[in-house]
Amino acid sequence: MNHEQFNNRNVSETYYLVDIEDYPTDGWGKFKRVVKRTFRGELFVGLWVVLREMIKFDIHTVQYPQEKMPIGPRYRAVHEMKRLWESGTERCIGCGLCEKICISDCIRMDTRVDENSRKEVTEYSINLGRCIFCGYCAEVCPELAITHGGRYENASEQREHFVMFEDMLTPIDALKAGKQLEFEGFGAITPHEDERVKKTPLSY
């Protein structure tokens, strides 16, 4: 394959080279440059711009951390564990695929058989100190149980504060209020999936 077309950077006729003066080499030259820059009055140009914008009262700065920018639905920050919409139970079935696929080996879980002979996840932990937020766990999860969320601020006294399973799990009141967000990133169900599901022919 020919790469020339990609290497050619002259994409527009209006491009031109900036005329940059050569750097002074001798002491006298340097002295002249300092004097020139000092008494040119450029400083007041900048001060004027600031003053002008202040008087206008049209400020676009986001007042972080009081204010936050909205984050894309596919953003991959600290994990979230989702609940089933219908019953409110945890979606995680403890299949262990996230643990297996994790390339930085930061997920660990323990399961057992519970009183109703169902598989129960007794412990679940993600070591965020190791996690590289690659999104494989969310991708492999057959139940859309583990996803990435938008909580990107990893500042706390301890890293362990982020790996509490209870913190990752959707609060039950948030679920009831319909506030659980489905992750739209890789691994999520494509839109209109319901229409593509074929039904089993039931001949009886």
């Binding site: 299949c95 297996k100 058989v113 169902r118 057959p142 009886y204």
Partner: protein, 749 residues
């Protein structure tokens, strides 16, 4: 030379031996035919019909798993029609199969999963009304009928290889299930072989259920340590909890060709969690240096035995191990007649035999692998199996063709009678002929209670058989007349076509007897016990002065009943010192324990092979490539038979020190899953004679020992001998197992 059948599979010329099926030949030649229900070690189940092939000139499809080829036939394994047929079978298997692969224990190693993907079944074309099916909990085994595909592997294995015959198919079309045979719940020896062969997650281990997944477990190839069969197994390990260390989760085996009993499968968690520190180690060094004796058990690797032998040579101490010493003496006497060091038989020889005599061992509990081999011989070759023992064994009842009940203590007489009958027409030496001529047959028959008719019935049943095996158990090895018995056994092996197996008691009794120079046990002080009794205990069990790793925490080799040197590996780490460290501190130069593997006693047939060069697996066609077989060693033939004089009599209350199913030793005793039934079990007849009844606490006195146990009435037992378990370390396993005893009822305190 056997005639070979020449035919073609997919245009490739192949040869079949007599008795081989098309599938066997195809697999041998690397031609793939899919199967769901086929398992090499049983007769074909022929329930899946996946293995269909086309034969030229034959209308319709042929089942390759149970059809032998004919000369010149042309077989095709892969056509459009066959593909369609097989895909349809897979579609039927998938009808209503629960979509719970996410949690199923079998997921990742499931035959149904593999084949569904292989045949690309992505939709369900057929349907049936699903039924409510109850998950059954059968103790160690859990059965989920909705996952079951009715391949019948479990039933075939249970019946043909294990011999329990505990499960069967309840036929009923779509509602067919596997049910316990003639019983409400599963009543069997819990070998767990049905779990191993189950291609789906229908039969699973209750303990393992939902605790881990196939892909998370690390497999450690090892050798089972509970009996002398040395079965191959894989410990599967994984971390415990979030931050825990590796621990064994389950045991698997190559179920296609090999079997495993329940002790191997469920009794894996005997590792030593204690640690040993420096102070304890220094005390141990002092103890060993000041000791006169090291007493050790046969639950030890060859390498460590070698280290003990080096310690003996360096420090001039004695080595006690009665179990191995008796075996050593027995084999020495055997060699003096046979002229060779090792017995000729093997477990494979039993599987191929069509006539076997078992004497002096309760095989089903002493060595389950031996029992499975006998069952295989019985079911596959219709073998005649003569079982000579004072106590009948209900577990062997389906297998044994003739039960020969002899009086306790008369083993020498019984073997003399057998030898006399088997060697009637043999070409014997003068002395040997004179020995048989001098036998007082009438006296022996009367004392041992083996009638002339019984012997002639046995000879008659053996008349058309070709492959004979004689299996000799611990009752003969530990007998006070063991040496003469050994010579008689050697004589039978030498002058008849019988191959001989002398069953070692514990995992490495045989290995220890070949390596260590043992002294006769005596009561003395300054004894260091290495996994055995002593003043200073170095042990992998509780109450040790210095803790060491258990056998699943060590690498090394064992010698099993087949005279095969088998490697085992570390499944769980032990945090502490080893015997090798101790020996180094005592001046025996050593690095790692397994460095000695190549230096093991060459005079006993050990080869100069490094530990890391020993393989530990079965080939894809089932050939045993584990470790190596000991070289045969020629011995001097200077043994003379002694005349059989008076046979001892055991009157009064007699107990037999014999473990219940799945219990073997102190290690099986500490496992979580295995049942620990340490009651004295006896028949109703015994209860009447001893004047005790079910549930009584009784005091048992035998030899110098006194123990208190609960008495349990066991309806499967007959006669006047009760079974006293010894896995809880109350009885010395190396002694003759029948004991005259006094049994008294004690009141509940």
């Amino acid at each position: 030379m056997e005639k070979l059948i020449n035919f073609k599979i997919d245009g490739i010329s192949v040869e079949a031996k007599k008795g081989e099926t098309i599938l066997n030949v195809a697999r041998k030649n690397g031609i793939y035919i899919p199967t769901m229900c086929y398992i090499s070690k049983t007769t074909p189940c022929a329930s899946c019909r996946m293995c269909v092939v086309e034969a030229k000139g034959v209308e319709g499809f042929v089942l390759s798993c149970n059809t032998p080829p004919t000369e010149g036939i042309e077989i095709t394994t892969n056509t459009k029609e066959l593909e369609h047929e097989r895909t349809n079978i897979m579609k039927l298997y998938d009808v209503n199969h629960p979509l719970e692969c996410g949690v199923c224990d079998k997921s990742g190693e499931c035959d149904l999963q593999n084949k569904t993907l292989e045949f690309g079944v992505s939709t369900q074309n057929f349907s049936a009304r699903d039924q409510a099916r109850k998950i059954e909990n059968w103790g160690l085994i859990n059965y989920d009928p909705s996952l079951c595909i009715l391949c019948e592997k479990c039933v075939h294995v249970c019946n043909e290889v294990i011999g329990d015959d505990a499960i069967e198919v309840k036929f009923g079309g779509y509602s067919s299930t596997i049910i316990p045979k003639n019983s409400e719940t599963l009543d069997c020896t819990f070998c767990g072989e049905c779990i191993a062969v189950c291609p789906v997650g229908a039969l699973v281990s209750s303990d393992f259920k939902y605790s881990a997944n196939a892909w998370e477990l690390e497999r450690v190839p090892a050798t089972c340590v509970h009996c002398s069969a040395g079965c191959s197994l894989e410990y599967e390990t994984r971390h415990v909890g979030i931050n825990g260390d590796a621990s064994i989760y389950r045991v698997k085996n190559n179920f296609e060709f090999a079997s495993l009993c329940g002790a191997g499968r469920f009794g894996f968690d005997f590792e030593n969690r204690d640690t040993s520190d420096e102070t304890a180690f220094h005390k141990a060094v002092e103890a060993v240096q000041g000791a006169k004796v090291i007493r050790f058990s046969s639950m030890i690797t060859n390498e460590e035995t070698h280290i003990l032998q080096l310690l003996k040579e360096k420090l001039g101490i004695k080595l006690f191990n009665e179990d191995a010493r008796k075996y050593q003496e027995f084999m020495k006497a055997y060699s003096s007649i046979s002229g060779k060091k090792h017995h000729s038989g093997s477990l494979d020889a039993i599987k191929l035999s069509d006539a076997a005599i078992v004497i002096g061992t309760r095989v089903a509990t002493d060595n389950p692998a031996l029992r499975y081999a006998l069952t295989t011989a019985s079911k596959h070759n219709g073998a005649k199996i003569v079982y000579a023992h004072p106590i009948e064994d209900a577990l062997m009842q389906n297998t044994v063709t003739q039960f020969m009940k002899y009086e306790v203590g008369t083993e020498e007489g019984v073997l003399a009678l057998l030898a006399n009958a088997l060697l009637k027409d043999a070409d014997l030496g003068e002395d040997e002929r004179a020995f048989f001529d001098a036998l007082d047959l009438g006296y022996l028959e009367a004392e041992s209670n083996i009638g002339h008719e019984e012997i002639s019935e046995m000879i008659k049943s053996f008349s058309r058989t070709k492959n004979h095996v004689l299996i000799i158990g611990n009752d003969l090895i530990a007998h006070e007349r063991a040496l003469n018995i050994a010579k008689l056994a050697a004589l039978i092996e030498k002058h008849s076509d019988f191959s001989l197996i002398i069953v070692p008691n514990e995992v490495n009794t045989l290995g220890v007897s070949l390596i260590a120079d043992l002294d006769e046990d005596e009561d003395c002080i300054d004894v260091v016990g290495y996994n055995a009794k002593g003043n200073f205990l170095i042990s992998s069990l509780k109450f040790a002065n210095l803790s060491v790793g258990a056998l699943n925490q060590q690498e090394g080799t064992f010698v099993n009943i087949d005279n095969r040197v088998l490697p085992t590996n570390v499944a769980v780490k032990f945090d502490g010192y080893t015997l090798s460290d101790l020996a180094s501190a005592c001046g025996v130069e050593s690095k790692n324990t397994v460095d000695y593997t190549a230096n093991l006693n060459p005079k006993s047939g050990f080869k100069n092979i490094n530990f890391d060069s020993l393989s530990n697996f079965l080939s894809p066609l089932g050939k045993d490539t584990r470790g190596y077989l000991l070289d045969e060693v020629a011995c001097e033939m200077n043994g003379k038979l002694e005349t059989v004089s008076d046979l001892p009599e055991f009157n009064g209350t007699v107990i037999y020190n014999s473990n219940p199913v799945l219990q073997f030793n102190g290690y099986t005793n500490i496992t979580k899953q295995l049942e620990k039934d340490n009651t004295l079990r006896g028949s109703a007849q015994f209860a009447t004679a001893a004047r005790i009844s079910d549930g009584d606490r009784v005091e048992i006195r035998f030899g110098t020992q006194m123990i208190i146990r609960e008495f349990k009435l066991d309806n499967t037992l007959k006669g006047t001998i009760a079974l006293n378990p010894m896995f809880d370390n109350v009885a010395d396993a190396s002694r003759y197992k029948f004991e005259k005893s006094k049994i008294m009822r004690v009141s509940h305190e």
